[in-house]
């Protein structure tokens, strides 16, 4: 229901007031009727009490029965004695209990004591009578029982009278009190009414005032919250986009790092292989150098041998010269022999033949030596060529050795640079792996951010809802305090939903 606070307040108080009036009325009525009833009851009580023989009657009857018993010895009377005593006790007890004041109660207690005394005396009497001591019984009766009975009778009377007086007093007092209460009630009702109205008005005003303050604060707070929420939503959207981009970039970088790690690993392997190859190459170069040196040594040895050969050829040529000389001389000899043979004429014919043979032998010898000389020349030429070839060979092998050394040096430098590059590749590999680890960490952090962002989103939505609720609350409060128009309540709906990728 859309009542204002004052209206409700008024209504509330009105109801209370009506109830008060009702209650007052009912109370008055009840009071009056109760007092009437009470008066009536008291009156009746007085009457009853006036006519209350009960204890007195009971005692009397009991005594009668006792006397009857004493006279007749009929146990029936004894029973009646007991019954009437009990009845009396009951009545006295009842009267004591219903006695309005302490004095009354004391009186009735005394009466009860009297009853008990009476009973005791009665018992004595009965005992005496039962024992056949009738005279004793009579004595007891006159000496003790009767006085006791009278005493009790008086007591009861007194008590009754007191009670009556007291009752009348009570009636008067109660009547006075009723009228007092009646007036008091009226007065109280009036005061309550006035007080209530005042309080209602004051409360309403104060409530309205603080409500208005609260509402305006609430409205501004809720608008702020909504603005902040919108910002946050936008910010969260941006954040989400940024996170996504970063994650994608991190993945790309990670892939790149992995690729580069792969490549670095491949480079390291290739460098290792190349190092192996260069090792082999250096070994081969070393062997080649060794081989070149050996070849050079062999060549030099060969040259020496060839020179020795040449010297031998020279020796041969000297010998051949000697042989040639011998042949020449033989030739001369042969010629001279032929001359002598010619001089000798016929006798010298045989000698001439021999001389001719010697000459031909000498010629053959000369021819042979000429051939040999030719061959020696050839040998000399060949020796020269061989020595030159050996020299060239030495030069070539020297060149080869130099080249091989250079090659070895180049290989060594290559190996060094390969080692460097392998080390660099190792470093690249390590850094790429670190990069991968770093990217993983970043991805993890991104996921955390995403989670936090999602939580943020949820919280923002909750806040949005709360803001919306606040707004509604503010509106309700507005109607409560009956502020019309827009005032400064922002009617804000929750701004466009912000979509976040969770």
């Amino acid at each position: 229901m859309n009542w204002t606070v004052s209206q409700r307040m008024m209504a509330g108080y009105g109801v209370v007031f009506v109830l008060l009036v009702l209650v007052t009325g009912i109370s008055v009525y009840a009071l009056t009727s109760t007092s009437k009833a009470f008066n009536y009851t008291l009156g009746q009580q007085a009457i009853i009490m006036k006519n209350q023989p009960a204890p007195k009657g009971g005692v009397a009857f009991a005594t009668i029965e006792l006397l009857r018993y004493l006279n007749t010895q009929d146990r029936k009377h004894l029973k009646e004695w007991d019954r009437w005593l009990a009845w009396t006790r009951e009545g006295a007890t009842e009267a004591r209990d219903t006695s309005p004041n302490a004095e009354g109660r004391r009186g009735w207690d005394e009466a009860l004591r009297g009853v008990n005394q009476l009973e005791a005396v009665g018992k004595d009497m009965i005992a005496a009578a039962a024992a056949g001591r009738t005279a004793e019984a009579q004595k007891i009766n006159t000496e003790r029982f009767q006085p006791t009975y009278e005493q009790m009778f008086n007591t009861i009377d007194r008590v009754l009278t007191d009670d009556k007086e007291r009752m009348a007093e009570i009636i008067r007092a109660s009547q006075a009190r009723v009228s007092q209460a009646f007036w008091a009630m009226l007065l109280t009702a009036a005061i309550a009414l006035a007080f209530g109205i005042t309080t209602a008005l004051l409360l309403t005003r104060s409530i309205n005032g603080s409500l208005r303050q609260t509402i305006s604060a609430l409205a501004s707070a809720s608008s702020e919250i909504v603005a902040a929420t919108t910002q946050q939503a936008a910010g969260t959207a941006e954040e989400a986009t940024a996170v996504q981009q970063t994650t994608t970039t991190a993945d790309e970088v990670k892939q790149t790092a992995q690729v580069s790690a792969q490549k670095a690993r491949a480079v390291a392997e290739a460098a290792q292989k190349a190092a192996q190859v260069s090792q082999d190459g250096r070994r081969a170069v070393g062997e080649s150098v060794k081989g070149s040196q050996e070849a050079k040594t062999r060549m030099e040895a060969l040259a020496e041998r060839i020179l020795a050969l040449s010297e031998q050829a020279q020796a041969i040529s000297e010998i051949i010269a000697t042989v040639n000389d011998l042949a020449e001389q033989s030739n001369l000899l042969a010629v001279n022999a032929a001359i002598e043979a010619a001089k000798a004429g016929e006798a010298g014919k045989g000698f001439a033949v021999v001389a001719a043979e010697v000459k031909s032998l000498a010629e053959q010898s000369k021819q042979a030596t000429a051939r040999i000389r030719g061959i020696l020349n050839e040998i000399h030429g060949a020796t020269q060529a061989a020595v030159m070839a050996a020299e060239q060979g030495v030069k070539v092998s020297e060149t080869g050795e130099t080249l091989a050394r250079q090659a070895g040096e180049s290989i060594r430098m290559l190996a060094e640079s390969l080692t460097e590059s392998a080390q660099a590749a190792q470093q690249i590999l390590a850094s790429a792996q670190q990069q991968v680890v770093g990217m993983d960490q970043m991805t993890l952090a991104m996921q955390n951010i995403k989670q936090a962002s999602a939580q943020n989103m949820a919280a923002t939505r909750q806040v949005e809802e709360s803001a919306h609720n606040l707004n509604e609350l503010a509106q309700r409060l507005t109607t409560l305090v009956a502020i019309s128009g827009n005032g400064h309540i922002v009617r804000s709906r929750p701004s466009g939903r912000v979509h976040t990728t969770a």
Binding site: Q329, L332, V335, I339, A342, A356, A385, A389
Partner: protein
Amino acid sequence: MSDRTRIPDWQEVHIRLEQARRSMESSGGRSSEEVARILRERAKALARPPEEAAPATEMIALLVFLLAGERFGLEMTHVQEVLPLRELIPVPCTPAFVCGVINYRGRILTVLDLRRLLNLPGTNATEHNRVILAAAGGMTFGIAAETIDGTLSVQTRKMAPPPEALTGLRLAITRGITEELITVLDLDTMARTPEILVNDEVG
């Protein structure tokens, strides 16, 4: 390396070396059968019947030698000996055809250069290896020669007269030309020629 581009088969080389060694070792001495064989062949060759030359034919024995590209022949009757030409001592103030003198077994012999004497063409650089010791006209002298071809017997009727182109001393001392184109010289005539007598005095 040399111009032999063929890579030698070392095996082949070794085999050839082995063969050469064996042949060299064996050529030092011939087996006795070979020696006997050779001697027998020689004997057969030598055992030819002599030439059926008419005994009435006159033959002269010549010593053939080479000089300035021509072959000359000297009669054996004039030739005493052939010597190797060594230690030729040139003598100044002598005619050109006198080479010099040599010492032959204590005797001083004059050595003549026939080229100068006969005005033969030829270079001075030609080597004279031999000296033919000749005796003619009561003189003993030497004739320088390049090489001695040997002895030869020729028939005088097969000798051709000297060609008409020759003049002077050449014509005088040329006896004739044999079938083998050997110019036979007449030493007697040469020895009697007054030009060869050197009696110069150096003042």
